[in-house]
Amino acid sequence: MTPDDFAARLRDAPLLLDGGLGTLLMAAGLAKGSAPERWNLERPDVIRQVHRSYVEAGSDLIHANTFGASPPKLAAGGLAGRCGEICARAVALAREAAAGAALVAGDLGPTGLLRPPLGTASVEQMRAAYAEQAAALAAAGADLLSIETQYDLQEALAAVQACKATGLPVIASLTCELKKRGAFTIMGDPLVPSLGALAQAGADAVGLNCSVTSPVMLDMARQALPALTVPLAVQPNAGQPRVTPEGVVYDADSEAFARDLLAMARAGARLLGGCCGTEPAFIRRIRELLDAPGALGSSHA
């Protein structure tokens, strides 16, 4: 897919993304602390099934299981040197599950490398890691690339540059928290100017994902939208994970979540999905709301 095709597709209608992957894999028995990317090789049936559940729920785009498939991240999880193999397998599984009904995005999460003073990595090392993963995802046939959960603007910019070199459309999403002075990444990058910088660097869409629940992300989206020159993607968490003696529970209410997502779409967000704790039921409900007549109001109809 070319960036122009992607822009045209987003002008036509909002694009419904998928929801959380990790939560479903854990429910399917992914061992504690084990890299989800390992299951592309060891449990392809489960990965395919999770993707299919989102396609059946109405996702127009699904993310291949490659969030942690950058070379440094894989090395930390005992999978050094297997970026190409894992990205190829993951994209193939997503493609089979999509069966022509959904786009397949290669997913790129943070490398885990940290710049001074927190670590010793350079932006150049980060760029090299993203370049290897982006090339592997492009070679595997991904339709586009989705950079997610970025908490350091400099790392995110390096990721955009590396991904743009493949010629595929690129979505770049930051993860921000609400502080007294506004929304920032943990490194202190302010939300609105940072999204602008990502667009400036060539991202075809910019976004927000993880860290916050849908009501908070709705506020952030309303702040960001007036200043943006490219489409906005929103993927909030289902609810804060709450730990009970019995285990982890997400305070998940798919109806309230879907209504917040519809409100974001009405405010102008064009890519809608969920992050941690969201499941196919959430996506299905957003699909129903979006498909209802006049869902986006008269100005967007």
Partner: protein
């Protein structure tokens, strides 16, 4: 700025600004001016790192500024510590064994807490990430730790904190067990019988001081 109070003021500023070289140099100058090492710590480092923590709470400082301030404090401490030993009194607030639980490789938060604890006068033994309960316990016993701090960043690895509390109790350690990490809450800490919980690095220092009975 030959006056002792000027030097301490500059030292505080260097810590707050995360100026590692400046803090190291000013610590040396403080000793040269005849300031007692303990007075240099109390007057030149503690207010600076405290202000950095306050600015972080306020959303003025972020992780890089907070970590840089802690590192500047550590650099100054490295200069003051040998003088402290000569001076007779070791200020050590207590010994802390810290790590991220088994199965979890996230160590930013844990490292930040360890750095701040060290900067605030604790002797910190950082076991790194992916630490099994047996290693936590063995190290705590070896160093006669006052505190055992365990971080878990994943909802899937939190349960290892429960295992750690159980292992520490079974081993009869005197160390108090503290837990933290993104998904961890006070309710979870209570449920697993931990002695303390803090939801950020600044709060962790206050918690540690309280647990060793050195609440300032």
């Amino acid at each position: 700025m030959g006056q002792p109070e000027d030097i301490l003021l500059e030292l505080n500023k260097a810590v707050l600004a995360g100026d590692e070289a400046g803090a190291r140099e000013l610590a040396g100058r403080a000793l040269g001016a005849g300031i007692a090492p303990l007075a240099a710590i109390d007057g030149g480092l503690v207010p600076g790192i405290g202000e950095a923590g306050r600015l972080w709470d306020e959303g003025e400082y972020f992780l890089p500024e907070l970590v840089a301030a802690a590192q500047a404090m550590k650099a100054a401490m490295a200069v003051l510590q040998p003088a402290l030993a000569v001076d007779g009194g070791r200020r050590g607030l207590g010994r802390v064994v810290i790590g991220t639980v088994e199965g979890d490789i996230h160590d930013i938060g844990k490292t930040l807490v360890g750095t701040l604890l060290a900067a605030n006068g604790f002797e910190v033994f950082d076991e790194g990430a992916d630490v099994p309960p047996s290693r936590f316990v063995a190290r705590a016993r070896h160093v006669d730790a006052d505190l055992l701090c365990a971080s878990a960043l994943l909802t899937t690895t939190m349960s290892r904190q429960r295992d750690l509390v159980a292992a520490a109790r079974e081993a009869g350690l005197r160390a108090k067990v503290c837990v933290g990490g993104a998904p961890v809450t006070q309710a979870w800490a209570d449920a697993i019988g931990a002695d303390g919980f803090a939801d950020n690095a600044v709060a962790a220092v206050a918690l540690a001081r309280r647990l060793v009975g050195r609440d300032a």
